[in-house]
């Protein structure tokens, strides 16, 4: 069943008087339980697409629906808070907090149902992603890039969302770590029935995906 449905989605950036369209009438449905990779040349609009699905930007024309309900009916904040988890290339963790605290921040912001003993849940989640309790209690600035990205994934998962978006999640880590992260994404999709959409430049990462979407001239070329 489709969790995110994109209909006639177009997006432009203003270049002086000229509207330069980056996305042109995209139609696509994303499903739970699948790991998607979006490929495309630099500047092809991958981040733009992800930011629209991630409710970081408002839709200009066309619609994005979450389980049938268009984004326009929500407040963007609410989508970010309750429906979508995001992972970024540069981790984006709060530097003066520990790994655990970073995860807990997301857990207190969301309105989704979270088990009462948040701290234990967060520790377990981090542990599941390979961050031990000692590391979880460290300031994130004292973790390696790969470890930080795992914390970021834990944070995205902590709010119990079904959709995880990742913009070049392996862009800043070495190959081994990239493999680990891809393995995590696959596990999330296949074992935990999440819809994982990752933008990447890496053919190795894309090779692991269930579905590869290539953005070209504002539209997807689909490879199943």
């Amino acid at each position: 069943m489709a969790v995110i449905t994109v209909k006639n989605l177009s997006h432009y950036y203003q270049d002086g008087d000229y509207r330069r369209y980056v996305l042109k009438e995209i139609n696509y449905s994303f499903e739970k339980g699948k790991f998607y990779c979006i490929l495309g040349q630099s500047g092809s609009g991958k981040t733009t697409f992800l930011s629209l699905i991630g409710a970081m930007d408002s839709v200009q024309s066309g619609t994005i629906e979450f389980e049938g309900k268009p984004y326009q009916k929500y407040d963007l904040n609410t989508i970010r808070r309750n429906l979508i988890g995001m992972v970024f290339q540069s981790y984006n963790l709060i530097p003066h907090m520990t790994a655990l605290e970073n995860v807990l921040v997301a857990m207190t912001i969301t309105e989704n149902e979270i088990p009462k003993d948040k701290v234990n849940v967060a520790y377990n989640l981090l542990d599941y992603l390979g961050i031990t309790k000692t590391k979880a209690d460290r300031l994130v600035t004292r973790l390696s890039g790969g470890e930080q990205q795992r914390v970021a994934i834990a944070r995205a998962l902590a709010t119990n969302v079904d959709v995880i978006l990742a913009d070049e999640p392996t862009g800043n880590v070495d190959e081994d770590t990239a493999e680990d992260i891809v393995a995590i994404f696959k596990k999330l999709a296949h074992e935990h029935n999440k819809c994982v959409i990752a933008v990447t430049h890496s053919p190795q990462v894309a090779a692991e995906a269930d579905i590869v979407l290539t953005l070209r001239k504002g539209n997807f070329i689909v490879n199943e």
């Binding site: 981040t47 992800l50 930011s51 970081m56 930007d57 904040n77 609410t78 989508i79 970010r80 808070r81 309750n82 995001m86 970024f88 540069s90 984006n92 963790l93 709060i94 530097p95 003066h96 907090m97 605290e101 807990l104 921040v105 997301a106 857990m107 207190t108 912001i109 969301t110 300031l139 944070r155 913009d167």
Partner: protein
């Protein structure tokens, strides 16, 4: 990690930021606290001095208004027309503000030139005698059995009694005089006092001639003792107190009706003398109005009533040529250096708070920029902008509160220092610009002296100043943070994160 926990981690783990804010609050706090403490101490001194005083309000002619009128008129020899106070006015005041009033009193005055009484003198040469052999006395009327002078404690009856209402109403020839005058003339309560009021003129050679007399026969019903003034030394060892004592011992107290009657009689004597001497008719400039030009003393039930009374009475009177003088007005005239320091510091307070808001806004704006990423993360996680602002406010208010407490520790010293410096500053010297009244004229407002006011002035803490200070600091921080939060409003998580 709710916003309180987030705030706490930010305060404790981003120490430099907290320290900078703390330091700024301590510095600005000391200035703000000093201004508040000094203002409050000046107020406290005024209040404690005024609290001790009887609640006297004096209805007086506004001489600055009269001056203006004279100037407009351009002729100083012609009388001016203003709506003089009447008994109807007093009735209206009593009708509207009577509930505040304990006693209303005013005094009619008349001069008496006589050889029948020996004047009371404290020092040789202290008393200035007229060029002839006559002595001058003042006949002063009162309008209540417990008249203002007794009520405010300027005098007490040491022998005999005061007037009865009946004696006052009838204008009976009964007299109260001071101890000094009684002793000098061997007068005792119950005595009949015969006074020959002399009307004199001078010949071209400078000799005094008596052209008429009025015989007055009083019954002495009581002896007054006048309250001592604080012994402030005047020139040549002759103090203000001595001067006042002589003045009062040259006064014969009786009812207003009597004084008014006597005034009319003596006016008639003068009129016929004038018309005979110069062959012209004496023009009456004024209608006979015993209240014209007289201050009316209102003694109220309580000091707290003063401002409400003045407000109501002023409305009832509705006469721009009169005003209600209060103890506070008088105090403020004498304590002008303190009061103007208070005024300067009140401005300083607002200026400092204004600058504090600007400085803090800039600093907090800097902090926001420094935390751009953190703010972006909160937004990306779907946090409301209002909550992020509240978190920042909590952080800064907590640090600000600590800074305020630290400022309290040093504030009194700084305040005392600033206060001493300002009081010592030459432009605040009381001798310049402020004219101290030598003795109370004919009202019963207290006579203040700057030195003793200064003695009771001391910079210290009060709960109100401390609370006002903490509220000011915290409000300043909140306002600054709210302005700086424009940064949060304008933050776009996509730009920050992606």
């Amino acid at each position: 990690m709710n916003i309180f926990q987030r705030a706490l981690t930010s305060i404790t783990r981003r120490k430099l930021k907290s320290l900078i804010l703390l330091l700024i609050v301590i510095i600005l706090g000391n200035i703000i606290l000093s201004t508040l403490l000094i203002v409050q101490s000046v107020d406290g001194t005024r209040q404690s001095i005024l609290r001790e005083l009887p609640p006297v309000v004096s209805l007086e002619i506004d001489y600055t208004k009269l001056d203006e009128l004279y100037k407009e008129q351009g002729q100083f020899d012609k009388p001016i027309e203003i709506p003089w106070l009447t008994f109807d006015d007093l009735d209206r005041i009593e009708a509207d503000a009577g509930s505040y009033i304990k006693i209303v009193d005013y005094s009619a005055y008349a001069g008496i030139e006589t050889k029948s009484l020996e004047p009371y003198t404290i020092m040789d040469g202290g008393y200035v005698r007229g060029p002839g052999e006559t002595n001058y006395f003042t006949l002063q009327g009162v309008s209540a059995p417990i008249f203002a002078m007794l009520e405010v404690g300027d005098a007490e009856i040491v022998e005999g009694r005061s007037f009865t209402q009946e004696e006052l109403d009838n204008g009976s020839p009964v007299l109260l005089i001071g101890e000094g005058l009684a002793e000098k003339n061997n007068l005792m309560v119950g005595d009949t006092v015969l006074i020959e009021s002399l009307f004199t003129d001078y010949t071209e050679e400078g000799n005094q001639v008596i052209f008429n007399t009025i015989e007055l026969e009083f019954k002495l019903i009581g002896i007054l003792k006048f309250k001592a003034l604080p012994q402030s030394e005047g020139k040549g060892g002759f103090s203000e107190h001595d001067y006042l004592l002589e003045e009062r011992n040259r006064t014969l107290f009786t009812g207003n009706r009597f004084v008014e009657k006597y005034s009319r009689e003596s006016m008639d004597v003068w009129r016929s003398y004038y018309e005979e001497k110069y062959g012209e008719t004496w023009e009456d400039y004024y209608e006979d109005n015993p209240l014209a030009g007289r201050p009316i003393t209102f003694i109220l039930n309580s000091s707290e009533d003063v401002s409400s009374f003045v407000e109501k009475a002023q409305a009832a009177l509705n006469n721009e040529y009169y005003y209600f003088a209060t103890q506070e007005d008088n105090y403020k005239k004498v304590a002008a250096p303190l009061e103007s320091m208070r005024k300067i510091l009140t401005y300083a307070f607002y200026i400092t708070v204004g600058s504090a808001i600007i400085v803090l806004t800039l600093v907090l704006f800097g902090f926001m920029r420094d935390r751009q990423k953190e703010i972006g993360i909160y937004l990306a996680l779907g946090e409301k902008k209002s909550k992020i602002t509240v978190q920042m406010i909590i952080e800064n208010v907590a640090v600000g509160f600590l800074g305020a407490l630290l400022a309290l520790a040093s504030g009194t010293f700084v305040a005392s220092y600033i206060s001493d410096m300002l009081i010592a500053a030459p432009q605040l010297d009381p001798q310049q610009g402020v004219i101290l009244p030598v003795y109370p004229s004919n009202n019963y407002l207290a006579n203040f002296d700057y030195e003793s006011i200064l003695q009771s002035y001391q910079v210290g803490f009060s709960a109100t100043a401390v609370i006002a200070f903490i509220i000011t600091i915290l409000a300043t921080i909140v306002v600054a943070q709210l302005i700086a939060s424009i940064y949060i409003l304008r933050s776009d998580p996509k730009k920050i994160m992606m």
